[in-house]
């Protein structure tokens, strides 16, 4: 089958599933809905795999235009760009989606919103596919907003809970802040390049780099990239727009796995990678990306050390890992970033689903202090969780190792101004990752059960465990794609790297195969750090030194518990300020000034004038005559004086 047809099948199948399930929310039974959506996603997955296989053979990128969306001439169209990058993403998306669909059969069983949930899932998959397949910014933005929407709906899925809808709103609004930047970036693009079509825009990246932006010393290209990166920060939850992600854990766990770990949050990463021809032209943007990524990677990891909600811990870990991906982008190691995205998708989905399994077993309890000793009661979950964790911390041989190690190395090779800082942050992040992963493992699976639920925890049924196992296998396998991704040209021409900061090329010079990499890994400083941390973690958490140490670091702990005060800052300052401004506009501005003073004031004045003038009509004849005389005298005077 040819590529356009396959691409349309991918989108069409998922779309049909979403629409059918969505329209049939009231009609369809759970089984029918499940069947429809899974069939759709499954078909899409198959098509994606075929596409991937085709591209693995080295097909040329192909544009698939469906129809013009906006006025002609701006590249506002519904059209797909099928190349190796989008195909990789399609596979990841459809695969994770498929697994989450399956997993959700068990996880969501009996929920009154079951069908709705599946419709949302499919809709999300559709949006994500549009996002990754788009061949122009407009469609990218449509998908971008689409995933934001579904994320909003899914976070607030249990709408009768008090907090879920608020978390959804928060997620949406913070995302919108990012979109604000994205939209401006698109505006700048349109102003600078006159088109929103990738190909057209990319072709002009040189020209844009020469063009001056309204800001002194900044090229148009940099401005565009900065604006677009703000969008990416929102979606990929980079500091300081990360605050929505931990809250989003209010949603059902499969959602956390799929949206808030594997796919949606990586949209920002994907976007930057997709737009590499632009970002390559702006060192300013790259430096910013480096430092934002670095700060996110380390600081969010640290919070993971103190969080007590199992999903929160994983969420902070996700933030931290997103930071790594971002750093990789900054170092122009787009392939490494995508590769980390790829591996992370699997191991983080695995971790989340495993956590979901734990949560199910705990009857929707999520506090890790209530758990303990679950390894014995839930062996499959524990084993898969362990595999995920190992991948996460980057133990040589596991998926995370390959991807993260590549990133760290790329950072080391980068010549950018802030690369050394980022490198340091990345290394520190490794240690932190190890610590919180170990802490989580110890709290959940080691030791004695700390609650009745933990004592009676049971392994969930197969729809839950099978995806876990599958994901575990994939996690183990994913790492071995490193060669293809980074050096084998799997991503082909989709990524453009300026020769001046082609870190991956420099790394390729001393790449000696996977085995070599593993062996090398043991010599890498990161791994030493990792080992040390694991050891430290063992003593801290397994041996219980953490509790003794706590008073000593209480200051740090409280900072971490408060999440560096971001939430406080936003809620106390930004939100409150917005409300104050809103109140000022509404009460003072509109009610008092415009309505009170101008509008009703005029009315009042008129009425008063009327009441006053009315007194002139005194009823006295002499007054009346005087008035006539006054008029006469005035007229005479006017005419006489005028001459």
């Amino acid at each position: 089958m040819d590529i356009p047809v396959l691409a349309q099948i991918v989108v069409g199948a998922v779309g049909a599933g979403a629409v059918l399930a969505g329209l049939g929310v009231r009609v369809l039974g759970p089984k029918a809905a499940t069947a429809i959506t899974i069939a759709g996603v499954g078909l899409a997955f198959l098509a994606s795999v075929i596409l991937a296989w085709t591209y693995a053979q080295g097909s040329a990128p192909q544009a698939v235009d469906l129809y013009h969306w906006g006025p002609g001439g701006y590249g506002m169209k519904i059209g797909f760009l099928i190349d190796s990058l989008s195909v990789v993403m399609m596979v990841v998306v459809t695969l994770i989606s498929l697994l989450v669909h399956v997993y959700s059969i068990g996880y969501m069983r009996g929920d009154p919103g079951y069908v709705r949930f599946f419709a949302y899932l499919s809709l999300f998959t559709l949006s994500m596919l549009l996002l990754v397949m788009a061949d122009n910014f407009l469609l990218l933005f449509i998908g971008w907003e689409g995933v934001g929407l579904v994320s909003y709906l899914l976070i607030g899925f249990w709408y009768t809970r008090a907090r879920a809808p608020s978390a959804g709103l928060k997620a949406f609004l913070v995302n919108r802040l990012g979109d604000f930047g994205f939209l401006l970036g698109m505006g700048a693009l349109l102003a600078g390049a006159g088109s929103l079509d990738y190909a057209t825009v990319f072709a002009q990246s040189e020209a844009l780099a020469q063009q001056l932006s309204p800001f002194a010393g900044l090229s148009m290209l940099s401005l565009i990239c900065l604006f677009l990166f703000v969008g990416a920060m929102g979606k990929s939850a980079q500091v300081p727009l990360h605050v929505w992600l931990p809250d989003s854990m209010e949603g059902p766990t499969p959602i956390s796995a799929m949206i808030h770990a594997a796919t949606m949050v990586t949209a920002g990463i994907f976007m930057v990678a997709r737009l590499s021809p632009l970002f390559e032209g702006s060192e300013v943007a790259l430096n910013l990306i480096l430092v934002v990524g670095g700060v996110t990677a380390l600081s969010m990891g640290l919070i993971g050390l103190v969080a007590n909600d199992i999903k929160q811990v994983i969420a902070y870990s996700t933030l931290s890992q997103l930071g790594y991906m971002t750093m990789a982008l900054g170092a122009s190691a787009y392939a490494a970033s995508i590769f980390h995205l790829f591996t992370h998708a699997f191991f983080k989905a695995l971790l989340f689903l495993a956590a979901g399994s734990v949560i199910l077993a705990m009857h929707h309890g999520q506090d890790i202090r209530q758990m303990g000793g679950l390894a014995r009661r839930m062996p499959v979950t524990a084993a898969t969780f362990a595999i995920g964790s190992l991948a996460l911390v980057g133990v040589p041989g596991f998926a995370g190792f390959f991807s993260k190690e590549s990133i760290i190395e790329a950072l080391a090779h980068s010549d950018l101004l802030l690369a050394p800082t980022a490198h340091f942050l990345a290394l520190a992040g490794v240690a932190v990752t190890a610590l919180y992963s170990l802490r989580l493992w110890c709290y959940v699976f080691q030791g004695d059960p700390r609650s009745a639920e933990a004592e009676q925890a049971q392994e969930p049924d197969k729809t839950v465990t099978v995806p876990l196992i599958l994901l575990a296998v994939l996690t183990l396998a994913a790492g071995f794609g490193v060669e293809a991704f980074l050096y084998g040209g799997l991503l082909g021409d989709a990524l453009v790297v300026h020769s001046a900061h082609d870190t991956l090329a420099r790394m390729a010079e001393h790449w000696d195969g996977i085995l070599g990499a593993v062996l090398h890994g043991f010599a890498a400083p990161a791994i030493w750090l990792l080992g040390l941390s694991l050891l430290g973690g063992y003593f801290l958490y397994e041996k219980g030194y953490a509790a003794k140490l706590a008073p000593a670091v209480s200051g740090l702990q409280s900072v971490l518990l408060r999440k560096y005060g971001f939430d406080m800052l936003y809620e106390n300052w930004f939100v409150r300020a917005a409300h104050a401004v809103a109140d000022a506009c509404a009460r003072t501005g509109d009610q008092k000034m415009i309505d009170g003073l101008l509008v009703n004031g005029t009315a009042r004045l008129t009425r008063r004038a009327a009441a006053t003038l009315r007194l002139v009509q005194s009823g006295l004849l002499s007054h009346y005559a005087l008035a006539m005389l006054l008029g006469l005298v005035a007229a005479l005077g006017y005419l006489l004086l005028r001459g």
């Binding site: 003038l613 009315r614 006539m628 006017y638």
Partner: protein, 475 residues
Amino acid sequence: MSVAQEMILMLPEIVLVVGACFILLCPRPLAWPLTMLTLAAAVGAMLATAPDAPILLMSGMFERSAEVDVLRILICVLTVLVLRYARGYPVSSDRLQSNEFYTLATFGCVGMFLISGAEHLVALYMGLEILALSLYPMIAMVRDDGRAGEAALKYFVLGALASGFLLYGMSLMYAATGTLHIGELAERLGQMETNRILLLGTVFMLAGLAFKLGATPFHMWLPDVYDGSSLPAATYLSAAPKIAGLLLLLRLFGDGLMALAADWTTLMMALAVLSLLLGNLVAIAQTRIRRMLAYSAIAHTGFVFLALCAGSPKGMGSAVFYTLVYALMAAGSFGMLLLLNARTTAEDIKDFKGLNHSHPWLAIMVLILMFSMAGVPLTAGFYAKLYVLQAVVEAGLWPLAVAAVLLTVVGAYYYLRIVWYMYFEEAERPAEPGEDLTHVFLVSANALVLVVIFAVPQPWLEMSQRAAGVFVGGQ
């Protein structure tokens, strides 16, 4: 021209005078039909004797023209209309439906007829005084009501004062130009340099006429007279005499004093703006319908003066059209008021409350009248304003136009108030309008004519332009 021919051309006036005498003497029940007959006969006489071209009669004192005849017919129609409305008025009714009342009303028409054709200052003055002399007793006629007497006294004293102004102005004009004939006056003024005597005369004449029309600051009598007099008298006063007053203005200023337009237009602007301002503002503060209508009349007068300030034939035409429409609106409004007062007293604006609920048809008619007064489209009032604005803007006086329309917005408020009382509020006490179907029909027709004029305004506009053309024909 032979005396017989002249008498034939004067037939409408003669018919009216003779009719009025018969009305005075006939048995009481015959007074009303005889009045109608007389007015109808006058109209018939007018139609039968209409000249092809404007023609001067009675040694050049009087002008007959088909164009102005149309207005005179309208005066008759309005008189018939208001007299018919007034028939339903019950309070002290014996006097108000007496022979004297109808006689005076008919004589009033004689006065208006004279005004409409007068080509000579004496004739003009006589017409004016016949009208005024008929109005004074009509207003005072509800003898036991102190308010009516008070109103009549005020009207009389101030009216006589205004007549004094007018006469004094005329005497100065006469002294300066040596003629009393309006056509000659225009001619001589055209050949003269302006001097102060002329200016003085102009001011005094303008003051006298401004009083008749009720322009600020010569308006003070108007609210009190509308308010204090009997409703039938106020109704009579509100409609046809406005047309006569305008004709007076046109004759004197549009024709006689046209050469001094540069001077009097400025004064008229002041009158116009002041009238608009005061009329519209003070109307807001009123609680009695009649007083409100009185101030509204002042505001409308302001618009008429605005039209005249343009000092152009178009301005004159627009003034005529405006006055026609206004007279119709005023007649309709008072007719409605009389209908509402047929059985109980309903003089407060509040008495309109809930009218839509009890009498939706009447409410719609009032709505049409009020929106027409406010100058909102789908009613003739809109064109009246549009026409005036056109004339004013054409004369380059657009700041004046802006001021006028802004004050119109203020004015819209009190017309709206009546509408909202009718439609939005609950009645405080049930309305008891008269059940006289003819009256209802006439009032409705009166209101609907405003809509008809809106839909087909061309004949009316042409008529107004032509009528105005007769006055400024010398130009």
